[in-house]
Point group: C2
Chain length 386, copies 2
């Protein structure tokens, strides 16, 4: 339950805001327009007088706006409560933190499970395909609404790091610092393969019904939980699984069979089950596909804007991450360094694989904290000098 | 199509033999008995006069008796035709090769898809659970039937290597040499996790029907193909996938969507589809579970028999195999070496991951060949001196 310690944000709330409407539609990279875009978001800390202390948090594939603090009744705090709070790496005594749920998501933001205003029914697969740049467009609309013109930093792990990268390349004038953790600028065939099998499990679930399942009242739960279980294996290192479970049986005395014989099986089954309570199969399809296509350095001109208006970068990886291994981060570093941008790289020792970015790993959190606090004298953020 | 080169076995046939019946039932490790066990097998080459030149091939999870040569109408030869044939590593001019389909399998041997004599209906999940030692019991019955009392070698890759290991520990008097390739003596939590998710996809397929799908005429094809696609990712190295597919699109001009956009997706889908034509969902459950429980060195007395009657071992791994990594093979080597058994270990450089054991990789094949031909002067196999 909620601790009462002085590094907790205590109770926080998710808000919703309509950022685009028929009079101001959102034009997507694919060319389609959305006439209604509602975004769920949370904020922590206080925006200072010159609005120079804002940090934007971008979430990973299955994250949401609730990054830190506690909702009434929460059993666990927000997904990045290890990172964000009073005195923590992203210190809410100092920074005004904005965290939003992605367009295409299913936790309060407009997505394929939302009602299509044109038909009065859920969008389903009629929802337009999204691009990492579309997320940035929506994030920009939110900061404008909140009265922030320039961010001290954009910070994200995994797909969140991809947004932090894309934002810096597309609109370097929006941010001073970009923190890209356990991310990739270009998925490998194996990365795509894992996502593809997860999507296949969802689409081929008998309840998927071409994406119209919400109208039929039965969700593709089997497919979605299989996708989650498989993905979860890739989020954990072999070493992490081994030290946590090894070959431990689920129960002391159980007949061998095809159920949950080993503890690792029980753990995965639990992961698959609980995922169903918080995630939508269509969002899973849309958001994984955005990652598959993400390839921001492909265009020759990709680095032109940021070269003209440099952003400072912190790129981090974890040594047992095999979802987006250290080599993925090094590839990002090479591209940025070749453009002579100020980039710091740190590979962190951790046994827990990709999900390390969510964990309390002191050298990792200390590195983020130091980076964010070192560069407070940069253009327009003089506020932070202490 | 079938080559006419002089290293091809040409046309071969699968035979079936009843090895156990009501008068001579098979007693399994779990305590149950099977009153009818039919096994499919092939042989290549000629058994010599003193029956001293036989080599037994054990197949991996989804293999079958058809290891080499061509069946009428085959588009591809047997699954280990790179290894077995005239002049090849397992030289059929020299050795009499026996290859059988596993008990519990679905390619001509008795398994959960067979008719239960007691009910007249397919066994389904009433088929008893199997153990690696049960496979060895059946293999032994087959060699006895073929008039072979001692094998020059038992050779297998992946789960085939596990059988070669188990046989050597349980009945070292049966074999002179054991060749254990890309195997494991103890699956990790991650290994089990991948198998568990595949089984879950099968069991939760709407058509699985508690294992009685054969009676309903609709197979759990979705679950089985998802299981295969996922497993196939683990059989290939990240490097192998990347060099073969990278981010190549499936078609030159295609609209992005949730279908087969990338070539790696098309490849996996094809793997999933073709698997359905040759494999049964119940066999997949039974055989993967045998691997999960395999732990032959767990018993204190595990090495007593072979220490008293030493077998020569060749243990091999592939450096990019992450299904059963080099560390798994090293673990086997450590156990055997600690018992002062003659064990040779070789880690082969190959970009293709676990499935390397099926491929034409010259240093690998040459090592197997040299090992098999070096030890022909060992106890009872004096025939081989040339």
């Amino acid at each position: 339950m909620m601790p009462t310690s002085n590094d907790s944000l205590g109770i926080v709330e998710t808000k919703q805001v309509t950022l685009f409407d028929a009079g101001n539609p959102l034009t997507l990279v694919c060319g389609d327009q959305l006439n209604e875009v509602v975004i769920a978001y949370e904020t922590y800390g206080t925006l200072n007088a010159d609005a120079s202390n804002a940090i934007y948090i971008c979430h990973a594939l299955t994250g949401d706006a609730h990054a830190a603090g506690w909702h009434e009744g929460d059993k666990h705090p927000g997904w990045w409560d290890t990172m964000i709070g009073p005195g923590k790496a992203i210190d809410t005594n100092r920074w005004f933190v904005i965290s939003s749920n992605l367009l295409g998501g299913c936790q309060g933001s407009t997505g394929p499970g939302s009602i299509n205003p044109a038909t009065g029914k859920p969008w389903g697969l009629d929802f337009p395909l999204l691009d990492m740049s579309d997320f940035v467009t929506v994030h920009r609309a939110l900061i404008a609404r909140l009265g922030v013109r320039r961010l001290h930093a954009v910070v994200g792990g995994s797909m969140g790091g991809m947004q932090a990268l894309q934002w810096s390349l597309s609109y370097p004038g929006d941010l001073d610092n970009s923190v890209i953790i356990a991310a990739s600028s270009r998925l490998t065939a194996q990365n795509i393969a894992f996502s593809a099998v997860g999507r296949e499990a969802i689409i081929r679930d008998e309840n998927f019904q071409g994406g119209r399942f919400a109208e039929n009242g039965a969700n593709p739960d089997v497919g979605l939980s299989i996708a989650r279980m498989m993905a979860h294996i890739t989020y954990t290192s072999e070493e992490g699984f081994q030290s946590k479970f090894g070959r431990k049986p689920q129960f002391d005395e159980s007949e061998p069979g095809f159920g949950v014989d080993f503890a690792v099986e029980g753990y995965l089954e639990h992961q698959g089950e609980t995922f169903l309570t918080r995630f939508d199969a269509l969002s899973y399809l849309y958001l994984t596909r955005v990652m598959d296509y993400f390839d921001p350095f492909a265009a020759r001109s990709a680095l032109d804007a940021v070269r003209a208006d440099p952003v400072r970068y912190l790129v981090m990886s974890f040594d047992t991450d095999w979802r987006f291994s250290t080599a993925h981060s090094q590839q990002i570093v090479r591209q940025l360094a070749a453009a002579e941008l100020p980039v710091t790289f740190r590979d962190i020792r951790s046994p827990w694989g990709h999900d390390s970015f969510l964990l309390k790993i002191d050298p990792y959190l200390a590195t983020v904290k130091a980076f964010l606090e070192a560069h407070t004298d940069y253009e327009g953020t003089a506020w932070g000098r202490a």
